[in-house]
């Protein structure tokens, strides 16, 4: 286009193209998707297939493995490691519930009550990510140390009596008990609960609270009938984002637990990286994946929130 300083020249459009009418880049989306989707197909989907095939192979490291459709591996793995599976579900479930109970007030605080402190609190929730979670998990070893102030306080308040009656602790120790593992899981995945909760709470129009109050709802009723139902998408994605990684985690069980608190993640890790029994490890991993997919699907269906992403 010519460079003029005064009134721009009337545009002289080029002659229109012949019919058929222009296709405004119908291939564009496919080009945009191609690299990323290819990446996921090769490094996410394809490995799943490899793993499925590995799980029905037999052989040994020295002689190599062959697909022999040996489904017995699944049965063997399940019958040997079902306690670890149950423990994973139990620990991850408890941690998820604790995260919801602890995380909701914090998310609510950030969304409605924090005022000018909102950004600071947000930063404080996210910033610990930058201190490696392993270092932070190790810090729990100090916090929950035998004879330390936390354990002492729990002992004085007779909390430990209750938890040991529940089988969560033994004696006056917290470290190396299920309680320590659940505590670590809760701590580690709490931000994954708080952030989606905050996002969906923040979308709620503050006037709805006033309207509910105006219509004779007490604060607690307002919460039950208005706030909580409207925050359901956050509750659903928060619980999923907590439960899924917690169920597969082995770091907390390893660092804060004992051999009696081993979860399925620990088994997979040991089988894969130490014992090198690939078929069993693959079968365990496949069962874990299937179990979680089934649970997630049922959960999403029942809670009626289909669009999580």
């Amino acid at each position: 286009m010519a460079t003029l300083t005064e009134a721009p020249p009337p545009l002289t459009p080029t002659a229109p193209e012949k019919k058929p009418p222009r296709k405004r880049g119908r291939l564009v989306p496919y080009w945009l998707l191609l690299p990323g989707i290819l990446w996921l197909l090769v490094f996410f989907a394809l490995p799943m297939i490899y793993q499925a095939s590995t799980s029905v192979q037999t052989g040994s490291l020295e002689e190599g493995y062959k697909v022999t459709w040996h489904f017995a591996t699944y049965w063997d793995a399940l019958s040997e490691y079902y306690p670890q599976f149950l423990r994973s579900v139990l620990y991850a479930g408890s941690a998820t519930i604790l995260c919801l109970i602890l995380g909701y007030p914090l998310a609510y605080l950030i969304a409605f009550r924090a005022g000018r402190w909102k950004n600071l609190i947000m930063i404080l929730v996210i910033a610990p990510f930058f201190t490696s979670f392993l270092i932070r998990t190790l810090a729990w070893k100090t916090i929950l140390a035998d004879g330390g102030p936390v354990v002492g306080a729990l002992n004085t308040l007779h909390v430990l009596d209750v938890t040991s009656w529940l089988g969560m602790t033994s004696g006056d120790r917290v470290l190396a008990t299920p309680l320590a593992v659940v505590c670590g899981l809760t701590y580690n995945f709490l931000p994954f609960m708080v952030l989606p909760l905050y996002t969906s709470l923040e979308r709620i129009d503050g006037r709805l609270h006033e309207a509910a109050g105006d219509l004779y709802a007490k604060p607690i009723t307002t919460f039950r009938k208005v706030t909580f139902p409207l925050s359901m998408p956050g509750v659903v994605s928060g619980t999923l984002l907590t439960f899924i990684p917690a169920a597969g985690d082995y770091v907390n069980a390893d660092l804060l637990g004992s051999t009696d608190t081993r979860m399925v993640g620990n088994v997979i890790q040991t089988q894969f990286l130490r014992i090198l029994d690939y078929p069993t490890a693959a079968a365990l991993s496949f069962i874990l994946m299937a179990a979680i997919l089934v649970m997630v699907t049922v959960y999403i269906r029942r809670s009626g929130t289909e669009d999580l992403v």
Binding site: M1, T3, T5, P8, P13, P16, R22, R24
Partner: protein, 387 residues
């Protein structure tokens, strides 16, 4: 108006379908250079789609768009000498007012834009605000930025998509006059999309009333109001009363109709329905054309006026006028607006009255259509666009 036709917009057989939904049925329309043209209709009637096809933001499913002599159907929006004032303005939030206005010039490779932009901002009285971001301006100011941003490019045609929809009533009135002034000043063809009949009538030289993807009627605001050709137009522009009548005879240029035992006269030129004897015709009349006389004084009504008897069901005083609802044998809920000049104390609910009007104010419509088309709540209004 000039004889220059380079700013004509000519749509021939243009249509738009989304799957099985037809947003715009094949449409022929010519907007002459320099005119202020309004596309009026309820949401979902296809008016915005039509506008977007002129802008190039929507590909027509069939037909062509010409600007002057040039076929622009296949041109993308950024190659068309047409600019748009978008609904809710679509000002770029990351650029300040100056850069928003300069955007089009810069994209066309014009280097020194400063003077032009400043002149333009002065024209819309926003010279002081040049370095503010759009969200720091009021609705009315944003609207003026949107107009400035489009006009600075000297388009052949300016398209306005509900440009005043987000403003409050008072500001809207003010901007209507402002836009009309700018249009007269720059002499560019304006195509204006609106659902507000008053806005269309105030501003436009020519109005096309659209309904369900079709143009129902096209004409000057007066013509559309005084002589609607469908019940949709009659109801959408203002209020109309309808009487179902039967053609009885013809006398000269007039048609005589039977309705509920009485006779009504309708000028044949104002009837858009077939007028074979015995055929049904909808007789329409606007509420403000009707006079009310208490039944006792019926003798005082001059000869030659259409008359109907009834009983006042309701009346509401609204300052300049009083609005009556009258029950009559030929039409329940007849609306009558009477200027508050000499108020007759006898005109209260329950009173027997005669309604009468000049036959020249009567219009005749095809009886084979819904009486409610174009009223709020009718299907034509409720239909939502798939856009």
């Amino acid at each position: 108006m000039t004889n220059d036709t380079s700013g004509d917009v000519r749509l021939s057989g243009i249509s738009k379908t989304y799957g099985s939904f037809t947003a715009v049925h094949p449409l022929d329309l010519t907007v002459p250079q320099g005119s202020f043209f309004a596309l009026l209709g309820a949401s979902g009637c296809g008016k915005t789609t039509t506008l977007r096809m002129i802008a190039g933001l929507e590909e027509p499913s069939s037909g062509t768009v010409h600007l002057g002599e040039q076929d622009v159907t296949a041109l993308p929006p950024y190659k068309r000498p047409v600019n748009t004032v978008f609904q809710s303005y679509a000002l770029f939030p990351h650029l300040d007012i100056f850069e928003n206005v300069a955007f089009g010039l810069r994209r066309r490779g014009i280097k020194s834009v400063k003077k032009q932009v400043e002149d333009m901002l002065d024209l819309v009285q926003l010279g002081e605000q040049a370095r503010k971001k759009p969200h720091q301006l009021s609705g009315g100011q944003q609207q003026r930025v949107a107009v400035a941003r489009a006009l600075i490019n000297h388009p052949k045609v300016l398209l306005l998509d509900e440009p005043l929809g987000a403003l409050d009533l008072k500001l809207r009135r003010q901007m209507q006059l402002e836009l009309k002034r700018i249009q007269t000043e720059v002499g560019i063809t304006f195509v204006h999309v609106t659902h507000d009949q008053e806005e269309a009538m105030t501003m436009a030289d020519t109005v096309a009333v659209m309904n369900a993807g079709r143009v129902e009627q096209l004409g000057s605001p007066t013509d559309l109001y005084e002589n609607p050709r469908t019940t949709f137009v009659a109801n959408f522009l203002g209020t109309s009363n309808f009487i179902e009548a039967e053609v009885d005879s013809k006398s000269g240029d007039d048609i005589v109709l039977k309705a509920g035992g009485g006779k009504l006269v309708l000028p044949e030129a104002r009837c858009s329905a077939p007028t074979a004897t015995g055929g049904k015709v909808l007789v329409g009349v606007r509420p403000e054309k009707i006079s009310l006389t208490p039944a006792d004084d019926a003798g005082d009504i001059p000869e030659g006026r259409n008359r109907i008897t009834g009983k006042i069901a309701d009346s509401s005083f609204i300052g300049v006028s009083t609005q009556y609802v009258v029950d009559s044998p030929v039409c329940s809920e007849f609306e009558v607006y009477a200027q508050n000049i000499d108020r007759d104390a006898r005109l209260v609910p329950g009173a027997e009255v005669v309604l009468h009007w000049n036959p020249a104010h009567t219009f005749g419509l095809d009886a084979a259509q819904s009486l409610l088309a174009g009223t709020t709540g009718s299907a034509g209004i409720q239909e939502e666009a798939a856009v």
